[in-house]
């Protein structure tokens, strides 16, 4: 009897916990493999610009002279293509999703060490600013 089958499912659902995660009250599910957002270790970046060349959405911009690395979180598609090609492995994927933005241009910019490895410049992480 199909009607009874559906009724059984309905009654079971009535007395069981919701199948959905009560998201803001409970943290979202994440696995270690989840691609949330890219993080950079500024001390190891040698500004080789491989990540900029390999980015399919053109979200990354590396300034070699100014020694800065910036990413537009709005453009980033979290494919981890940059993390794959990074020769010093300073780009890694963090499982946490970034917060939604209210305006275009959530650009995240950091000063990086640059190619000279002898004296790594102090990493100054600037807060996300709107262009």
């Amino acid at each position: 009897m199909v009607i009874l089958k559906m009724a059984a499912t309905a009654i079971k659902s009535l007395f069981s916990r919701p199948a959905t995660l009560m998201y803001p009250a409970r943290p979202a599910k994440r696995t270690s493999a989840t691609r949330g957002h890219i993080v950079i270790d500024p001390a190891n970046c040698i500004t080789c610009r491989s990540c900029q060349r390999k980015c399919p959405s053109g979200a990354i911009c590396v300034e070699v002279k100014e020694k800065t690395w910036q990413i537009d979180r709005m453009r980033c598609v979290t494919c981890n293509s940059c993390g794959d090609v990074c020769p010093t492995k300073c780009l890694t994927m963090d499982p946490a999703y970034t917060a939604a933005l209210t305006a275009r241009g959530g650009v995240y910019k950091v000063s990086v060490a640059g190619p000279k490895k002898k004296e790594p410049a102090p990493a100054i992480a600037e807060s996300p600013k709107t262009e």
């Binding site: 089958k5 309905a10 599910k29 980015c55 981890n80």
Partner: protein
């Protein structure tokens, strides 16, 4: 003869997940002609192939569609690999097969939910999507993405599934199978669902063949074409039969997809048993010089990717022919002569994916 009127259906309609516009020519309540028009979500992804390196285009090919994403990237990399003559390791072939079948499962469960919603069976819709969530969890745990997996690359795959993970997946698949039996029996046996689907949207075998129907739309009319039988990836080494129903109505198309759900689970189990150890990718050098038509079976039918390179980093041409595009002429055939109230169910029965269609 009564007076003819035209009713616009879409691009915004409660049953349509994506925008397609149909002009329905009605005589009383009967549809006598249909004029489809597309072009609401064109994004120019084929042109983008000239601006991106061929390895990076994998991620863009994947974003042609949000549901059958994995198979799009698979077909694209197959095309490039064939041009460059790359031998992909055996393990990568098996992993691609497993993820293809997982994406087929999630696509079909999504469709079953949308279809139930189109019929007005809200409870069934929620239950189908509850099962789909478990499939998405598996995809996220193994590839890192729920719907955009980004697991394929030219020369192999980017992620590996460990033996323990695979065992856990198979274990959970048994529970999913049990839940699916519950849900699908309602689709196939419930009298109200049957009443809504049987003898609705008839497509004869000859019409399906002549109009170029693909995938479950063709198989629901008795045309047994399944691209997986050509043996791409690891399908050649696995044992399965295309699901076929002969009635040619909405019920038959629903039946075909439900059979495919279970055959997908069977394929995953077979692949998990046979998967060999070894590397998952090979290093690639150079760039593709030549052209290739690559084909594969998506949840919606046959997809064709045409890629052409000239020995440089950027390809010169990419062309995609997606299953929904070829299923629009059969849809027009089905709609002629039906009642206006049946139009939403018939449109949904081909599993329309308009973002695919327009690229």
């Amino acid at each position: 003869m009564s007076k003819q009127i035209i009713i616009p259906f879409g691009p915004q309609h409660p049953v349509l997940p994506e925008p397609i516009h149909l002009d329905l020519v009605l005589e009383d309540e009967t549809v006598v002609d249909v004029l489809p028009s597309i072009g609401y979500v064109h994004r120019g992804l084929e042109k983008l192939v000239e601006k991106r390196e061929f390895t990076e285009y994998t991620f863009i090919a994947e974003r042609i569609c949000g549901i059958c994403s994995f198979i799009h990237s698979l077909v694209y990399v197959q095309g490039v690999e064939q041009i460059m003559g790359i031998e992909v390791p055996e393990r990568a072939h098996y992993l691609r097969t497993i993820w293809s079948e997982y994406s087929r499962l999630h696509s079909h469960l999504l469709w079953l939910g949308c279809f139930a919603d189109g019929m007005g069976f809200e409870n069934l819709f929620m239950n189908s999507w509850r099962i789909r969530e478990h499939i998405l969890d598996e995809l996220e745990a193994t590839t890192g993405g729920r719907v955009i997996q980004s697991a394929c690359k030219v020369g192999g795959v980017r992620k590996d599934i460990s033996g323990e993970q695979l065992e856990g997946m198979l274990f959970r698949l048994k529970d999913i199978k049990k839940d699916m039996h519950n849900i699908t029996s309602v689709f196939l046996e419930d009298s109200s669902v049957k009443h809504r689907l049987k003898k609705v949207g008839m497509l004869s075998k000859q019409d399906a063949y002549n109009c170029g129907a693909v995938g479950p739309t063709a198989r629901g009319s008795g045309v047994a074409i399944d691209l997986r039988e050509t043996g791409y990836a690891a399908y050649g080494k696995l044992n399965f039969k295309p699901a076929v129903a002969t009635e040619g109505d909405c019920y038959a198309r629903c039946n075909v997809r439900i059979q495919e759900l279970f055959s997908s689970i069977d394929i995953i189990e077979q692949a998990a048993k046979k998967i060999p150890e070894g590397p998952i990718d090979v290093k690639i050098t150079g760039a593709p010089n030549g052209e290739y038509f690559s084909r594969a079976e998506q949840p919606r039918g046959e997809v064709v990717h045409y890629v052409k390179g000239n020995g440089k980093k950027n390809l010169v041409r990419s062309r995609v022919r997606t299953p929904t595009f070829t299923n629009i002429p059969p849809l027009v055939m089905m709609l002629k002569g039906c009642q206006l109230a049946d139009v939403p169910v018939i449109v949904l029965s081909i599993d329309p994916c308009i973002s695919c269609t327009e690229r």
